[in-house]
Structure formats: structure tokens, C-alpha cells
């Protein structure tokens, strides 16, 4: 080939490739992660979904003569898509687990943008071949309210939002799963508040009792992340009334650089522990923690396992079990017990959220800390402690 032609085409290829990147980036930034309130990497949370045993025979009611093998599930993820190592991957873990336990089949669909969600919902519902359509993420809600009413025979599951008609009634054929993130965040906030008030040294970091100070890094300022922040602050203040809590938002779910910058500033200003609810941005928070020799708290998944390289600073994670939500909803369909028009509100009591101690810190925390945590957990479940949902 002519060398010039070759060079030119190479240039063109590179340009087109670059353009592709630009397009992808913008798609990702815009909303891509509208639902990925959290982060993680890997999918280490094996304990979430594995707790149901295959119950393929006991499904006489509801779906008539359907057997578990016939159950077909349509999965519509949020625009962050699979491979986000967090929210969507957790949902995927749930359906995979259900496949392994019940032998169901499923079809994934990954919308590029919220506008595609409507198309996928309608395509699944309209085909009539799916027993259940799982809509992952709150961006689905507006379209789902309409589509679920139109396809009233289709069973839907909605995660992270509640499908209500304009009159305020629940849509009959949608099962809603929402999480009380503030409860789990209160727990990790309480842990952070206790540790910064005492002298603690384990793993690659330490705290000192003077100047009790903790931090919070959010992704984008959405209502859900506000629940994380509100719970965290309340928990930290419960541990120590004089505590200083710095909060900041990175404005993005996939910008570890900004995450690192923010967290470094917080550590430099005396924060001992930083909790992030910022998707992939949180990776930067862990980096900052390691270089500052301070602690960090993960989110969504047990990040001391999924982001194992940082397990010496990740003292705990606020785990949100999206996989359990998906798994349970599929189980209910398999058993013919699907209940539309209901809201599953999952908090500490239901194990929907939980403060999970990091793998390097298991059994290494002072017993007064773990006792206090167990106490507030009981307090929240029993209703003695009221956790605010808004900052």
C-alpha cells in the first residue's frame, strides 16, 4: 500500500476512534451514571443472593402451569450499563444467582440513555415472552408508570424508585424495591465518628483523638445520595456531638481524579475517615486514603473485597443489596407469589443495607466500637433512633 495512503488512513482511523471516545464520554457523563449512586469493583458480595434454595416445584399458583425453567426475565439496566462494578453489576449478580438456583432464563438490555429505557420496557412487555421485566434504577420510573398501565398483564419490578400514578396510587403490576440507605449510612457514620474520637491504629492507617473530623464525598447531588449524606452526618454526630463533618460532591460518578483531590484536601484538613457514595469516583478516595494513611469507607459492595488493593484502609462498607432485590423478585415469580402494587422498603432490619466491616478489620475493631454499632443497629431497627432522610 502506498505509504501516504497508509499514513492518511491511519490518521483517519485515529481521528474516528477519538471521536468515538468523545461521544462515549459525553454519553457517560450526562447521565450514564444517574443511578449508580455507589461504586465498587468486582462483585465480591456473594453473600447477598445466595440464600434461597431452588424451589422449582412449589409453584402451582399464580402463573398457572409455569415451571421455573419456563420463567423468562427481561433485565433493563440503568444507563451506566453493565461493567460499572457497582449498581448494575449487583443487579446482574442477582439474576445470575437466580439462573443458577432456579434455572430461569433472562435477557439483558442496556440502554444508552434514559430515552432508550422506554423502548426497552415496551419491547420486553410487548413481546409477551417475559414473565418479569426488571427495571434497574430510578430513571425508569416516569416511563414505567405509563407502560405498566398500558401493559397491565406484564409483571414489572422497579429498583430504587416507586411507581405511582398521578393520583398517588401504586401501579398494580409493579413491585417496587427501595432502600433505606440512610440507615446503613448512619451505621458507617457512627463507626467513623467513634474511630475519629479515639486512638486507633490498624492496617495502613491510624486516627488520633484530637480534632474529631470525618468527611463525605458524593457523586452527583441526587435525592438518593442526599440520603447517604444525611444518614452519615447523623451517625457521626450521634457518636460525637462536636464532630466536624466535611461534605463535597465530585459532580461525576466516574472521575477518580476529582475524588482523590477532594479526599486529599479533607485528609489534609484533619479528617480521619472519608465515606464515599460516588461510584467509580470513589477509587480516588481510596488512593487518597492510602497516601494520607487515613481510613476510608466503601459503598454498595463490600469494597474491601471488590477493591482489594485498598483493603488495608477500607475499614467498612455501606453495602446495598440490589442483587437480593432482583433475586427475591424473580423467586416470587418462580413461586407464583408475585405481588404487584407493593413496596419492599429494605433497611437494616431486612438486610437490604448493612455496614459491613472490611476484611482486614474483621475482629480488629475495639469491642466498645462493635458493641456500640450493634446497639445503634438495634436502636434503628427498634425505632428508638430516628435517622433523617434529608440533609
Amino acid at each position: 500500500m502506498d505509504r501516504r495512503t497508509f499514513v492518511t488512513s491511519l490518521g483517519v482511523g485515529a481521528t474516528v476512534g477519538l471521536a468515538g471516545c468523545v461521544i462515549d464520554d459525553s454519553g457517560g457523563n450526562g447521565s450514564g451514571n444517574g443511578n449508580g449512586n455507589e461504586s465498587g469493583s468486582g462483585n465480591g458480595n456473594g453473600d447477598g443472593g445466595g440464600n434461597g434454595d431452588g424451589n422449582g416445584d412449589g409453584n402451582e399458583s399464580g402463573n398457572g402451569d409455569t415451571t421455573a425453567e419456563d420463567v423468562n426475565v427481561g433485565m433493563v439496566y440503568s444507563s451506566g450499563g453493565l461493567g460499572d462494578e457497582s449498581f448494575n453489576d449487583m443487579a446482574y449478580n442477582g439474576v445470575e444467582q437466580a439462573e443458577a438456583d432456579f434455572g430461569i432464563s433472562y435477557q439483558n438490555a442496556e440502554p444508552d440513555s434514559p430515552a432508550d429505557m422506554n423502548d426497552y420496557q415496551r419491547e420486553f412487555a410487548g413481546s409477551g415472552e417475559y414473565d418479569l421485566v426488571c427495571c434497574i434504577g430510578f430513571d425508569h420510573v416516569t416511563d414505567l408508570v405509563q407502560n405498566a398501565q398500558e401493559f397491565s398483564d406484564q409483571q414489572f419490578v422497579l429498583v430504587d424508585a416507586v411507581a405511582e400514578t398521578e393520583g398517588g396510587d401504586l401501579v398494580e403490576n409493579v413491585d417496587n424495591y427501595v432502600f433505606r440507605e440512610h440507615e446503613g449510612s448512619f451505621q458507617v457514620g457512627h463507626l467513623a465518628g467513634l474511630l475519629t474520637t479515639m486512638e486507633y491504629d490498624h492496617g495502613a492507617a491510624s486516627t488520633s483523638p484530637d480534632d474529631p473530623h470525618v468527611g463525605f464525598v458524593g457523586g452527583q447531588e441526587t435525592a438518593i445520595i442526599d440520603r447517604f449524606e444525611a444518614g452519615y452526618i447523623a451517625g457521626a454526630e450521634y457518636a460525637n456531638e462536636d464532630i466536624e463533618v466535611s461534605t463535597a460532591y465530585a459532580g461525576s460518578w466516574d472521575d477518580p481524579g476529582t475524588g482523590q483531590e477532594i479526599a486529599t484536601t479533607m485528609y489534609d484538613n484533619g479528617a480521619d475517615i472519608v465515606f464515599h457514595a460516588a461510584g467509580a469516583t470513589g477509587g480516588g478516595v481510596f488512593e487518597a486514603a492510602q497516601s494520607a494513611e487515613r481510613y476510608a469507607i466503601g459503598v454498595d459492595d463490600d469494597q474491601s473485597i471488590s477493591a482489594e488493593g485498598f483493603s488495608d484502609v477500607i475499614v467498612a462498607s455501606m453495602v446495598k443489596r440490589v442483587n437480593t432485590a432482583v433475586y427475591e423478585s424473580i423467586e416470587s415469580v418462580v413461586n407464583g407469589e408475585f405481588e404487584g402494587g407493593s413496596v419492599q422498603d429494605l433497611g437494616l432490619e431486612e438486610d437490604g443495607v448493612e455496614a459491613v466491616i472490611g476484611q482486614d478489620f474483621e475482629g480488629e475493631l475495639p469491642s466498645e466500637v462493635t458493641d456500640a454499632l450493634a446497639e445503634t443497629r438495634e436502636g434503628i431497627i427498634g425505632g428508638d433512633i430516628e435517622v433523617p432522610e434529608e440533609t
Binding site: 500500500m1 502506498d2 505509504r3 501516504r4 495512503t5 497508509f6 492518511t8 488512513s9 491511519l10 483517519v12 482511523g13 474516528v16 471521536a19 468515538g20 468523545v22 461521544i23 459525553s26 454519553g27 457523563n29 450526562g30 447521565s31 450514564g32 444517574g34 444507563s79 435477557q107 438490555a109 442496556e110 444508552d112 440513555s113 434514559p114 430515552a115 432508550d116 422506554n118 423502548d119 426497552y120 415496551r122 419491547e123 410487548g126 430510578f138 430513571d139 420510573v141 416516569t142 430504587d160 424508585a161 452527583q220 447531588e221 441526587t222 435525592a223 438518593i224 459532580g251
Partner: protein, 427 residues
């Protein structure tokens, strides 16, 4: 790189078959690739409209072949429950390329709802493609159509919400609401195009840089406004209150979100832009101002103002794309709008920046998008592979046109004769 090589092979074959009159062709046999390259470029520049269409179709065929081979080969690496084929030594392949392409075709044009989905995307791409083409025509590279569209869509979404309680829910109400939505989008989008235009004219700021940066500013402003002040309080998602039904373009096909009214409007705009730029004095002035500022100034044209006008017009078209998106597709503004503005750049380049050419280019893109939706849905082929197929088709079809632009730029070919030969005498 193999793809590029095959593409030009195809062109050369067509060359010997098509023009047949290259007296220098023999020289190439000695391995004189440089010369052959020059000839190919010259031939591309001289190609008649019929030949160019033939080239595009050949390129499409090659793209399908290469893409098919790629899909088939990837099938050997993937694991699946029901392999399509088993080849000794190689193993089994999971993907059937014929099935993939058939699903793509079926998914884009095979049924009325599928066609509606294709045309929905086509309509939006027509506006963004025209937005980019208008700027290109005036020698300006507007990368900011995305931002102009995002803000235009937000303006439309906000302007239409209060109309629900004022206007009757009837055709009359729609005749009032739809123009209001279009004007709101066009004004705000136009303003967002005006800024880089003015910066280019009066501060000598490169419009490529400013428009790229203004995309981020637009997205940030829109996100902030909606999440903090103007959003729908009833949802956790960052979105505005849905627009009232009076402001929604009626779907032409039941269950779809496509209105033939919008498509007809888009086609009329394409023709109008063509007419404006090729048949009017204003259009001529707009073109010269961007391409050759000093020449325009000498002939008494205010080139600086015309650059601003071109960018404003381009931005207004981007804003209208946003308005149509809100009124026809999404019925609300929501963060994470699709990247139609960036796709518009590709559409415009594919069309050779010709407003009429934008029509088939937008249709191709719309069909590919709709078709890949169907593949993603119906087959086990991963979405990324479908994106590769889409990219290959675009790359192959755009390449000859791209080399033609290079050839024209470096004065290959025989320009005056081309004009004379355009009637097809060459064949």
C-alpha cells in the same frame, strides 16, 4: 488497517471497470503505488454522482463482509449454550453473521413499529446533522450541537409545562403549543451557538475549542438548574415535570414515539437550507464569509457578522433538535440526553456537508441505531460488537467521500471538466 486497504482495493477495481480511460494505469503495474494513489484520488475527485453512489454501495457491501467476518470470528472466542457452527480445529462459533445482519435489517425496516423507531432517530439526526452541515458550509466546525440541543430541549421542556392548564387539549391547542416549543428551543439553542460565533468573529477564538467547552458548560448548567431549582420534585431522577399532552406530537404509529409531522418538517428544513445556501445571495455571503473572510470583506460583505449568523443558525437547528426530542420522544428533559449532537457531526461528514445528502445519511444512522437495538435485544451478540458493526459501516461509507475531500483539497482531478462531465458523459 486491513479494512482501509480493502476499501481502496474496491475503489481501484471500480476504477478500471468504470472510467477505463486511465492511460497511466500501466505504470502502476511496476509497483508504483504512489502514482496509483494519485490516480485513485484524481479519479475519486472526478467521479460523477452515479459513480459516487456506486462507490458508496460497494463500500457498504465491503463493510458488511468485513463486519460479518469479525462477528463470526468473535463467535469462536465467546461461549454460549447453542453454538451456530462447529469447525474442526477451530472450535465452535456462537454468532451467525447472516442472522445478525438480517436482524438488523428487520429491526430497522421490517415492521411498522420498527420503521417508526428508525424514523424517530432519523428525524432527530436530520436536525443535528443539518446543524453541523450549516456551520460546515460556512467553513465553521460546530462541535457544540450537543450542548445547543441540551439547552434547547431544557428550554422547550420548561416553556411547555405551564401551557397544560391554559390551552385546550385539542388540535387548536397543539397548533399553539408546538410552535412555542420550537421557538423556545431554537432561541436558546441559537443563543448557545451565537456565543462561540461572536467569540470567533470578535475575539478570534477558535470555534472548535469554544464549542467543545461550551458543551460541558451547557450540560452543567442544565443539570444544576434541574436538580436544584426546576426539577420534578416527585422523582429522584434529575428531570423536569413531563410536558402536557397538548404539547406532545401525536404518534403516527400506535405505541411508537414518532410523528410524521416532525419528519416532514425536518425534510422541509433540509430543502430550505439547501435553497438558502445554494440559491440566495445571503447564503452565498454566509459561505464566503467563513471560507474566505478577506474576499468577502473586499466584496462589501460584513464577514464577521455573517460568521455569527451562521453559528446562530446552526445553534438554532441544534435547539430545534432538542425541542423535537422533548415534544416527540421523551416528553420531558432528563439528564443524560443521547449523543445526537455528536452523531450529527458524523451524519454531516457522511453527507459531504450537503443539506440534501444529510437525508440519506440520517436515514442510514437511524436504521443502524434501530437495527442494533433489535440485535441487542433479540440475539446474544454483545452490544459492543454491534457498535463495532455500526462503526465499520460508517467508516467504510464515509472513507471514499473523505478521500474525495482530501483529493479536492490538494487539487487532484480535473475540476472544470468535472462540472461539464456531471451529466454522466464520463460513463
Amino acid at each position: 488497517m486491513s479494512s482501509g486497504g480493502r476499501g481502496s482495493d474496491g475503489d481501484r477495481e471500480t476504477e478500471s471497470g468504470g472510467s477505463g480511460g486511465s492511460s497511466d494505469a500501466d505504470r502502476g503495474r511496476g509497483g508504483d503505488w504512489r502514482n496509483r494513489g494519485r490516480q485513485t484520488l484524481a479519479w475519486l475527485v472526478n467521479a460523477s454522482a452515479v459513480q459516487r453512489i456506486a462507490i458508496s454501495l460497494t463500500a457498504l457491501a465491503f463493510a458488511v463482509l468485513v463486519g460479518g467476518a469479525l462477528v463470526f470470528a468473535s463467535g469462536f472466542v465467546a461461549s454460549c449454550r447453542q453454538p451456530v457452527i462447529y469447525i474442526p480445529l477451530l472450535g465452535e462459533s456462537c454468532y451467525n453473521p447472516v442472522e445478525v445482519y438480517w436482524t438488523m435489517l428487520e429491526g430497522s425496516f421490517g415492521s411498522l413499529p420498527n420503521l417508526a423507531r428508525t424514523l424517530q432517530e432519523t428525524t432527530l439526526l436530520l436536525f443535528t446533522g443539518l446543524s453541523v452541515a450549516v456551520a460546515f458550509r460556512a467553513g465553521l466546525f460546530n462541535v457544540g450541537t450537543q450542548g445547543q440541543m441540551v439547552l434547547g430541549a431544557l428550554a422547550t421542556g420548561l416553556a411547555l409545562v405551564p401551557l397544560g392548564s391554559v390551552l385546550p387539549d385539542s388540535v387548536v391547542g397543539m397548533l399553539v403549543a408546538v410552535p412555542i416549543g420550537l421557538v423556545a428551543g431554537a432561541v436558546v439553542g441559537g443563543f448557545w451557538g451565537f456565543i462561540p460565533g461572536a467569540m470567533k468573529s470578535y475575539a478570534d477564538a477558535n470555534e472548535v475549542i469554544t464549542t467543545i467547552m461550551l458543551n460541558f458548560v451547557a450540560t452543567g448548567i442544565a443539570f444544576y438548574l434541574v436538580s436544584e431549582h426546576l426539577g420534578d420534585p416527585g422523582t429522584g431522577s434529575v428531570q423536569t415535570v413531563p410536558v402536557p399532552s397538548v404539547a406532545r406530537l401525536p404518534p403516527t404509529v400506535d405505541g411508537s414515539r414518532f410523528s410524521v409531522l416532525a419528519l416532514v418538517g425536518a425534510l422541509l428544513v433540509a430543502v430550505g437550507i439547501f435553497w438558502l445556501y445554494d440559491r440566495t445571495i445571503l447564503g452565498y455571503e454566509l459561505r464566503t464569509s467563513g471560507l474566505q473572510e478577506s474576499a468577502a470583506e473586499y466584496s462589501g460583505v460584513d464577514a464577521k457578522r455573517n460568521v455569527v449568523t451562521s453559528m446562530t443558525l446552526s445553534g438554532a437547528l441544534g435547539g430545534i433538535a432538542g425541542a423535537i426530542y422533548v415534544m416527540m420522544v421523551h416528553y420531558r428533559w432528563q439528564t443524560g440526553m443521547p449523543s445526537l449532537g455528536f452523531d450529527g457531526i458524523a451524519v454531516s461528514v457522511l453527507a459531504g456537508n450537503n443539506p440534501i445528502g444529510v437525508i440519506p445519511a440520517a436515514l442510514l444512522f437511524g436504521g443502524l441505531k434501530s437495527g442494533s437495538f433489535a440485535v441487542d435485544f433479540a440475539l446474544g451478540v454483545p452490544g459492543e460488537l454491534v457498535v463495532v458493526l455500526r462503526g465499520l459501516i460508517i467508516l467504510f461509507v464515509a472513507m471514499p467521500e473523505f478521500f474525495r475531500m482530501i483529493g479536492t483539497y490538494y487539487d487532484f482531478g480535473d475540476q472544470p471538466e468535472t462540472a461539464a462531465a456531471d451529466g454522466g458523459e464520463r460513463q
